[in-house]
């Protein structure tokens, strides 16, 4: 079983469609909603973790694209600009998944993209703009 984290951006016309239902029913995919936002202009953004075999994942993602949904891999979502990071550790208590973590011996911060759910809590906390949203 494979897992893939994706960011879906829905145009206003699709916000009312039960897209995730079809992912389960027609493509045999499991999904875990990590984040969901509907903006004032009624555009929707959904961060999903999809699980299934490779064939189902590819078919499911192709289906989403066919519907006019913009699909991006989550790993491109939050960017850690290492040269801006001062390793102060202000972001550490805010990160819910430990994607941002500290080596307690050297007190150096590191960022593991795989664990990031793009909750964006770190963005406004970093005084040096070392963490940015990358859309």
């Amino acid at each position: 079983m494979l897992k893939k984290r994706i960011v879906l951006t829905f145009p206003p016309s699709l916000v009312s469609q039960p897209i995730t239902y079809y992912l389960v029913k027609d493509y045999n995919l499991m999904f875990n909603i990590m984040r969901g936002v509907v903006t004032p202009d009624e555009e929707g953004r959904l961060v999903l973790e999809l699980s299934g075999n490779r064939k189902s994942l590819d078919a499911g993602i192709a289906y989403l694209k066919q519907q006019g949904i913009n699909v991006e891999s989550l790993s491109h979502d939050i960017k850690w600009r290492e040269n801006r990071c001062t390793h102060c550790t202000a972001c550490i208590p805010a990160c819910p998944t430990n994607a941002l973590s500290v080596n307690r011996k050297t007190m150096e911060v590191s960022f593991n993209k795989e664990d990031c759910i793009a909750c964006e809590l770190c963005i406004s906390i970093c005084p040096f703009k070392a963490l940015v949203i990358n859309f």
Binding site: T86, H87, C88, T89, A90, C91, I92, P93, A94, V102, R104, T106, M107, E108, S124, I125, P127, F128, K129
Partner: protein
């Protein structure tokens, strides 16, 4: 055997000086003991890299042709207002200054993405900024307006001049209320969700010379990547506070005023910082060498994070309302472990000051000394220490008498 600063400088010159960082000295003392280490080691280098709001720089732009009297007029650098109450082309740019059209906290919480500190960082990076001025015009300074690009190298003088840096110890900030608060200690989530501290502990300059026996007026330091000097005690310098047996204060205490040539500094060690909902600050890198004059000084430099205690303070009520109340006392070893206990609750910690960069500064300073690029100075006068009459008081507000009353 006691040593003098000039003997240590002779050893630096000859290449025989033993220089170690405030982290390395801990192991050395553990292995060799204080007596032996004091004989062996000549200098212990310290470091700190944290936001220090009471910072800024003064500039002399050079005179324009025809002349303009910016002094007493209006001046901005990249839209950030500078203080002009000085001579014709001298201004002071404070780290926390915000553009006049910045919404600040009227759109709460404000982002404070640009301010004086960011302009200083940009100038230090060698980039040009936009200088604008409006003046009232005089017979000798007839010009009224100025708009130009300017770089640090174009200026006659550019001097970092910080009235309060290098705080010796600091509060650990928490939030006991039910809503998120935005402070200079970062974003504090409700009901003790996080605890933020801001001190490099065992690396911090004044933690390694807690009673200011070597650090004084005239001490040469690493400042913002270049070189600077301690020129006075910092504002709010408060030596007469509760201290441990090791002399280390258990609450915020000593501070330093520092100065140095901005043109020789680096954006790696002077960084503009934006605190959501609070404002702009400048993160300053400072390193102070401590001459190991005797065993007592050496013992101070061997202080460890587990021997330094900080007070935990509520920033939702206690701090803003100036109400006494320390919720807990914790060590820097606990703070650096990632969690502390407050009111029986496990609280995650984060810092505003970078320990790893503090270590890096101490290493850079050590290298400079070993390469004969940096010599130690003897203080020309001490800064007030324990037993002096220096203290910090609140403002005593006096109601104004209005005409006719």
């Amino acid at each position: 055997m006691a040593k003098t600063v000039s003997e240590i400088n002779d050893k630096i010159k000859k290449g025989t000086a033993v220089v170690v960082t405030a982290e390395e000295i801990i192991d050395i003392v553990n292995r060799q003991g204080v007596k032996h280490a004091a004989k062996e080691v000549d200098v212990v280098t310290t470091g700190t890299f944290g936001p220090m709001c009471s910072s800024g720089a003064y500039f002399n732009f050079g005179h324009t042709k025809p002349r303009i009297k910016i002094g007493g007029g209006h001046c901005t650098l990249d839209n950030v207002p500078a203080y002009t109450g000085l001579a014709a082309v001298d201004v002071y740019l404070g780290a926390t200054a915000c553009p006049e059209d910045d919404p600040k906290n009227s759109v709460y919480p404000g982002t404070f993405s640009h301010g004086g500190a960011h302009v200083i960082e940009k100038l230090v990076a060698g980039k040009s900024v936009i200088l604008k001025s409006r003046a009232y015009g005089t017979d000798c300074y007839p010009r009224r307006e100025l708009e130009t690009e300017i770089k640090l190298k174009d200026m006659n003088e550019a001097v970092l001049f910080n009235p309060r840096n290098c705080y010796q110890n600091y509060n650990v900030a928490v939030n006991l209320s039910d809503k998120t608060i935005y402070t200079y200690m970062g974003t504090l989530r409700p009901r003790l969700a996080n605890a933020n501290y801001s001190c490099a502990g065992q690396m911090s300059p004044l933690m390694n010379d807690p009673c200011y026996k070597t650090i004084g007026i005239g001490t040469r330091i690493f400042l913002g990547g270049g070189e600077g000097y301690v020129i006075w005690q910092g504002t709010q310098h408060n030596p007469n506070v509760k201290r441990g047996d090791n002399g280390v204060p258990r609450v915020p205490s000593g501070t330093l005023a520092v100065i140095g040539d901005l043109k020789k500094m680096s954006p790696d060690w002077l960084r503009g910082a934006s605190f959501t909902g609070y404002g702009v600050s400048l993160t300053v890198g400072i390193g102070v060498p401590i001459p190991v004059l005797n065993e007592e000084i050496l013992r101070y430099t061997a202080v460890t994070d587990k021997d330094i205690i900080a007070p935990v303070v509520d920033y939702s009520v206690s701090y803003p309302q100036v109400k006494p109340g320390i919720l807990a006392e914790v060590t820097y070893a606990e703070l650096k472990s990632g969690t502390i206990a407050v009111k029986g609750q496990k609280v995650q910690t984060g810092a505003m000051s970078s320990y790893s960069k503090a270590v890096k500064i101490a290493e850079l300073l050590k290298d400079r000394i070993l390469r004969h690029e940096f010599y130690l100075t003897e203080a020309v006068a001490p800064i007030p220490s324990v037993g002096s009459d220096t203290s910090v008081k609140l403002l005593n507000e006096k109601p104004l008498k209005r005409k006719g009353e």
